[in-house]
Amino acid sequence: MQTKRFMSAAVAAALAWTSMGHAAWDGADDLPTNPLPCDGGGGSVAAKPYDGGTPSGAANMAGKKISLVDVPKLIGIGYFNATALGMQQAAEELGNVDVVTDGPTEANIDDQITFIDNFITQGVDGILFAANDPVAIAPVLKKALGQGIHVVGYDANSQPDAREWFVNQAEFNGIAKSMVDAMAAEIGDDGKFAIVTSTFTTPNQARWIAEMEAYLAKCHPGMEWLETVEAQEDNVLSFNQATTLINKYGDDLDGLFGMTSVATPASAEAVTQAGECGDIAVVGLATPNAMKPYVKTDCVRSVVLWNPVDLGYAAVYVTRAVVDGDLKPGGTSVDAGRLGTLQVINGSEILLGAPYVFDKSNIDGFDF
């Protein structure tokens, strides 16, 4: 009978997948990893010539009022609310910049492209972006450059030649080192951990995880990575996935990494509700406000993050400097208001600084 035949085929297929087991994760973008030295100190990278793009025939707006648009990966999450806030602060300080933030409601490559394209048609002086996909976004960014619009990225990069500068919150290997070292400090060099991430296709998260794997192998070979689960950018799903991991591994689980500002507080909540505070460490990227309850109850000792308000703030300062001619290809540093002077790395990236580690002593000093 057809129904039966179909069902047995389906079940067989399901079992076949099951037996495939889970493989470690390598970032899946075929880029080399570059783990930092174990004992601190920056990895030295050879200086690279400028590899960004150049807008063709951009009007000289030096010192004049410019209007910028900001297209984050998605709107409606705390992280990009914070970057948008930083941009408004910078615009207010500078006085000659307008910034509008608008973007898709889901981290969707197609919608983001449409938004940028509409802004090009609308006619703006500059576009700030955080890419959902480095390659997919490139054609539309190149189109903007071709029409004399300045293009600066932050948070999530595109192909270098599709934009002028990228404000890098922290290098991938730096984040990886901070996260892994923080975890090792809590669970020891033979601890076992699992990861809760957004999706495997999110480029930043994938790179961080790949760098973490490389750094683990190099500096903490005794730690055991149990598995990685996806939880979208969804609070409740992150909580449920973390809870399932806690239930699955029981006492074998020593730590949880949260790879997004959604997954980390949800993982902390899962550990709290399971009554495992102190037994299961939570380390992750998160905003301070969401983590305060857990840091204060000592359930979470350290939260890794750059300051996204500063990131947005820097992006606007960099764009202003580019328009004014203060930052040109080949430049080595840029002045960024209250953040002081930021260094150019990697050809066309501006480094915000080392990732920041929040703990009980300083978390109350931040509100974002």
Binding site: E227, E233, D234, N235, V236, T243, N247, K248, Y249, G250
Partner: protein
């Protein structure tokens, strides 16, 4: 396959019980627990069982209302957005300093009003429910972002966490799921209105000619959907210490899937809310099991989709068996 037909002929009640989708789902759930429990006994430990039930308790509550709507031959694809909006309203009211009870109650009333208006569009303006609710999905989702800008609601009052309370060791959402399912099942079975819902879904024209005020009933069923979505929204909002004010991805599809896998015919007229609750729990159990038995995370969704398809095919097979047996 044994001849169920012969075994059950002349015993209509036994036949109905054995061949019901509820029995099938319960068996599937028990089989899953047994098999995965043998592979990893932690899967059937009390706390994981509790986590499974807890994970989809609010889905199950929302699926009760959805089942009723589908039983009348309609559908509501805006329910996920509605729950997102309600959670934000609930948190905002609580942080405005309203008594907690009101912060829980007002969103439920709001949900009844919003869903009721959807029902009016469907019943009186004759807009097909899938179209009207597609419009509502956009409006609620966009409206939520305009209103909150996506800022999380934090610093909620201490006693806000309704879903975190335990009564007799069992979390409140599980109680809500069990009690509401039992009440709704009894009401659907034994009240004239409940039977009218089945009649409308089975044959709307006949229901009208039999003197059932079909338009009012459709508005009522959407209001009930709002009631259950409202309760689900409160359970959803109060289970963590922060409220994420965006619409949870694919929430409406999960709720509809629970109703459909629970045996509610998308064509209207059949199905029970017990089935949809069992299905909601089964879906959570599958999701958990896939992690416990180490399915490659890349193949997780494909496995999940296959299992839904298998359940649905099995349900159809069962129905055909049932038809033949009688």
């Amino acid at each position: 396959m044994p001849d169920f037909g012969a075994l059950l002929r002349g015993r209509p009640r036994l036949r109905a019980a054995v061949l019901s989708q509820e029995a099938v789902l319960l068996l599937a759930l028990l089989a899953l627990l047994l098999v995965v429990g043998l592979i990893n006994e932690r899967y059937v430990a009390e706390r994981n069982l509790m986590s499974i039930a807890l994970a989809h308790a609010y889905i199950a509550v929302a699926a009760i209302g959805m089942s009723m709507v589908i039983i009348t031959g309609n559908i509501d694809i805006s329910v996920g957005s509605l729950i997102g909006v309600l959670a934000a309203v609930c948190g905002t009211l609580a942080n405005m300093g309203l008594p907690i009870g009101l912060a829980w109650l007002l969103p439920i009333l709001l949900a009844i009003v919003i869903s009721g208006s959807l029902g009016v569009l469907v019943a009186y303006c004759r807009i097909p429910s899938i179209v009207a609710s597609l419009g509502y999905l956009s409006i609620l989702k966009g409206g939520l972002i305009i209103w909150t800008g996506g800022a999380w609601i934090t610093d909620l009052p201490e006693n806000f966490g309704l879903a975190l309370q335990r009564w007799g060791g069992v979390p409140a959402p599980i109680w809500a799921m069990l009690i509401l399912t039992a009440l709704a099942a009894y009401w659907m079975r034994n009240s004239r209105t409940g039977r009218a819902f089945y009649a409308i879904g089975g044959n709307a024209e006949a229901a009208r000619l039999a003197g059932i005020p079909t338009q009012r009933m459709v508005v009522l069923v959407f209001m009930l959907n709002g009631l259950f979505a409202g309760i689900a929204g409160i359970l959803f909002a109060t289970q963590l210490k922060v409220i994420q004010t965006t619409v949870p991805p694919y929430l409406e599809l999960t709720i509809i899937t629970a109703a459909v896998v629970g045996g509610v015919s998308i064509l209207g007229g059949t199905g029970t809310v017990i089935g949809s609750t069992l299905a909601a729990v089964l879906l959570a159990a599958i999701g958990s099991a896939l992690i416990f038995i180490d399915v490659s995370p890349f193949w997780l969704r494909a496995t999940y989709g296959t299992l839904i398809l298998v359940t649905v095919l099995f349900d159809l097979h069962r129905r055909r068996l049932q038809q033949r047996a009688s």
